[in-house]
């Protein structure tokens, strides 16, 4: 490795009672891709935040271009040539693409829209980032497009070091290839790249060096060629190994239709057709996986299936033969919902964990049949439930905000997947943010629910998950359902359908 551009030693960071990083060393050099690998909660994002000045370390030292550096702000780090592409995009949703780029350019005076649009088009062409019409508002863009805007922002002034946090989570395979070729051309131009990921395939495809974190500590670092995939996996998870059970054994059990959507169509306010005549049916005991890349109508379809009637929604959702007009009715009919955006729709971050476990109509009704909560009893049963789903820390009195993202997801799963009288499940990306072992656990539970007779519908963006769970696969692309020829088509076929390429 050449002289490092950035070198950090003994980094330490605590968030309240949680130690996020302890004694971590990290270095990266110009012209190479450094993969930062680890499971969720391993401290990858925290390390990335320290490097880019978003968060200040509690201890340790950082050197930038050989000199001691303390970032007071992300702005200062940016001024020194360190840019970041965030996992949760730092885009202002109410502004246009061009306006977001103008913000990154630090424009101050009068803005001539026409000229700004032309300049942003030119910039996008020069940086080889395809963003389309720059006058579109961010909130009207698909997630993949938003990411490209985020990347373009980071490249306004070509950075010396570009940090990308989980950049492929929302992309289809073909978009991942485009992203990787873009990154490679940047590296060839001498940029240093740090890519935060938990996907081993990306390390193999892209990385020159790799650093593995586990529970906030450094567990391995060196040239990528020194590690094979199984070695990396062992470092990431410790000594546990992954077992995989294929789905597809349930076709025989499938019974009557439980959850059904008929002719769902929805056009948003700006005239975009988000759902286009979607019909589907899930049978008792069956796991139907709707595969697709985010932004193709999943969140809209999931909301409709959960009983939400957005303004202008056409069509019908039926549960056990009854038409459903509100989430309350859906819940009453025995539907469990794992929303895609757990923090927005699944939790109340200020409420205690035990209270969050009651945030479903049937749960609160069975916990308080005459309207009275019995907090001590509820705390005790909450503790058991938290232990069962490995929510850490399993303290029922903590507010949900105190949990990491992965643990928040477990909390939602603990509430939704352990309910009694469950007839159907709609789960949007149920394992997002979970590590390998926890993912296995959730998959087992979902299969168990189906074996118990529940109709299960899973939205997934991850081909591994699609394969692991599906009895039957549908693909959602640009608001339309695409039905593959086979019930469980090959991986490559699903990938192509997700990308909109005719199979």
């Amino acid at each position: 490795m050449s002289a490092p551009l950035l070198e950090a030693t003994g980094l330490r960071k605590r968030f309240g009672p949680v130690t996020a990083l302890e004694g971590v060393d990290f270095a990266c050099a110009a012209g190479e891709v450094h993969a930062l690998l680890g499971e969720n909660g391993a401290g990858k994002s925290t390390l990335a935040s320290l490097i880019t000045g978003l968060v200040r370390p509690d201890g340790g030292e950082m050197r930038w271009r050989g000199e001691s550096a303390v970032w007071r702000s992300a702005g200062q780090a940016r001024g020194e040539g360190i840019s970041m592409v965030h996992q949760h995009f730092m885009l202002v949703p109410t502004l246009s693409i061009a306006e977001n780029v103008a913000l990154a350019r630090r424009d101050l005076g009068l803005l001539d829209r026409e000229r700004l649009h032309a300049e942003v088009r030119t910039l996008a062409a020069e940086r080889r980032v395809d963003i389309g019409d720059p006058s579109r508002r961010i909130e009207d863009l698909a997630v993949g497009e938003q990411q490209r805007v985020e990347i373009l922002k980071a490249l306004v002034v070509p950075p010396a070091l570009l940090v990308l946090d989980e950049p492929t989570a929302v992309l289809v395979p073909s978009e991942v290839r485009d992203l990787f070729s873009l990154l490679r051309s940047l590296v060839d131009g001498g940029t240093a790249i740090v890519i935060v990921t938990h996907k081993l395939a990306e390390v193999e495809a892209l990385a020159d060096r790799v650093t593995v974190l586990r529970r906030g500590r450094l567990v391995g670092t060196g040239p990528a060629s020194d590690f094979d995939a199984s070695a990396l996996a062992r470092l990431m998870v410790g000594e546990r190994t992954r077992t995989s059970v294929a789905g597809g054994d349930a076709a025989a059990r499938a019974g009557a239709v439980v959850l059904e959507a008929r002719g769902l169509s929805w056009t948003d306010r700006s005239g975009g057709r988000r759902l286009d005549d979607v019909s589907l049916a899930v049978r008792e005991g069956e796991i139907l996986v709707v595969a697709g890349v985010e932004g193709n109508g999943q969140s809209e379809l999931a909301a409709a299936l959960a009983g939400e009637r957005a303004e202008g929604l056409e069509g019908e959702v039926k549960l056990c033969g009854r038409s459903i007009a509100s989430p309350a009715e859906a819940r009453a009919a025995g539907l469990a919902v794992v929303p895609a955006d757990r923090r927005r729709d699944g939790l109340v971050s200020e409420l205690a964990l035990w209270e969050n476990l009651l945030l479903a109509r049937d749960r609160i009704e069975s916990a308080a049949p005459r309207g009275w909560l019995r907090p001590s009893e509820q705390r005790a049963s909450a503790r058991a439930s938290l232990e069962e789903f490995h929510v850490r820390p399993a303290d029922p009195d903590l507010p949900a905000a105190a949990l990491s993202g992965g643990n928040q997801q477990r909390l939602v799963l603990a509430r939704e997947l352990s309910r009694e009288g469950l007839r159907a499940v709609v789960a949007a990306t149920p394992t997002r943010g979970l590590d390998l072992v926890a993912t296995e656990g959730v998959h087992d539970r979902i299969r168990g629910l189906a074996r118990g007779g529940a109709a299960v519908l899973v939205f997934s963006t991850d081909l591994d998950e699609v394969e692991a769970l599906a009895d039957r696969i549908l693909v959602l692309f640009r608001g339309r359902i695409v039905v593959p020829e086979a019930a469980r088509p090959e991986r490559a076929v699903v990938g192509r359908l997700m990308a909109g390429v005719a199979a």
Partner: protein, 363 residues
């Protein structure tokens, strides 16, 4: 980053909940001390003798049986409206219309008290009329928010003014005294007046009601399924709706309950203290209630102490004006400064509510 922000925020909230477990009394006690110091300072600035001002402030608010009674009589409506505001705010309803709801409550109570003769048990109907009046006035804003997506902060402020002019019209019109001399109603007949509790004092049953309301609201929020639903809807309406909770119905419930409490506050003022309706029946009680609720940390116990504190300050300030020549409105400045300082030192927050004040409607 996200995890970092979460952890810090969680830390703050843990800190806050720790502090509140230590004692909801803390802010009110701190406020009490501060208020005395600030009064001395302001009185000196306004050219009066600070020691004398403080002396009369204290003796005039809690120093004698009579002054204590006045303080308690003032605290009753403040507590009722403060609890109403607390219920609304905790449920994500920004009802700043307690003033108007109080006025309409007083108006409705007066109609029942002075226009329907006199008969045993009348006072029960008087109280009920106050509650219904306040609830209906609040229901206008609730309906506008639920059905027309109109922000309730705005509508309740506007409705406060409308209520004020309605009362002003009523005491010069349909409810004016039989003599038609002054803009005021006839006096309440005996059976329409609240029972004296304890008998022989100026104190009345309305104060007991206020205390019961404070306890009831606390129990409702922390010990019942409805309370959890209300708090969840207040903090994250999207999650509450997805949970299958009747968010729209709960919103209406919180809003009208809050209005009913303010309406009762108006009723106990006319049926317990003044015995008549005047144009100036409320001296901004409904506005002070917002400060009371916030200073009380949106918890029943805290709101109780804050209501007593504000009442004592107002009563003491009147005494101070008489004996030390300092204007009684000084009390408002002291209240404001105290709240500001307590807000800074305690970092009291309901930003969790404010953050989610966007779209939270629907059924």
């Amino acid at each position: 980053m996200s995890t970092a922000g979460d952890a810090t925020r969680a830390e703050i909230r843990n800190g806050a909940s720790f502090a509140s477990r230590l004692g909801f009394a803390a802010p009110a006690l701190v406020a009490g001390g501060l208020a005395i110091g600030l009064t001395a300072l302001f009185a000196a600035a306004a050219g009066a003798d600070p020691a004398r001002a403080i002396g009369s402030l204290l003796s005039g608010s809690v120093g004698s049986g009579a002054s204590l009674a006045t303080t308690l009589l003032r605290a009753g409506p403040l507590l009722l409206t403060g609890i109403g505001v607390m219920l609304a705010f905790r449920s994500g309803v920004f009802n700043v219309g307690a003033e108007g709801q109080l006025l309409i409550g007083a108006l409705a109570a007066t109609a029942v008290g002075t226009r329907l003769g006199a008969w045993p048990g009348q006072v029960v109907l008087v109280l009920l009329a106050g509650a219904v009046g306040g609830a209906l006035w609040a229901a206008i804003a609730a309906w506008l928010r639920a059905r027309r997506q109109v922000n309730e902060v705005i509508t309740t402020i506007l409705l406060n003014f409308v209520a004020l002019y309605l009362v002003s019209w009523a005491v010069a019109g349909p409810l004016q005294e039989s003599g038609r001399t002054y803009p005021q109603s006839d006096p309440f007949p005996d059976p329409a007046m609240l029972w004296r509790v304890p008998p022989g004092t100026r104190l009345h049953f309305g104060l007991v009601l206020a205390l019961l309301a404070a306890i009831g609201a606390g129990v409702l929020l922390s010990r019942t399924a409805t309370g959890l639903r209300l708090r969840a809807a207040g903090l994250n309406p999207a999650a509450a709706r997805l949970a299958g909770f009747p968010v729209g119905r709960d919103l209406l419930l919180a809003f009208t309950l809050s209005g009913a409490l303010a309406g009762v506050a108006g009723a106990i003022e006319v049926a317990g203290v003044t015995g008549r309706l005047y144009e100036r029946i409320s001296t901004g009680t409904g506005y002070t209630a917002i400060a009371v609720a916030l200073l009380g940390g949106l918890r029943s116990g805290g709101v109780l102490l804050a209501a007593l504190f504000f009442a004592a300050l107002a009563t003491g300030a009147s005494a101070m004006e008489r004996s030390a020549g300092v204007s009684a409105v000084l009390a408002l400045a002291v209240q404001g400064a105290t709240i500001l300082i307590v807000a800074i030192t305690n970092r009291m927050s309901w930003t969790g509510l404010a953050a989610s004040s966007g779209d939270r409607d629907g059924t």
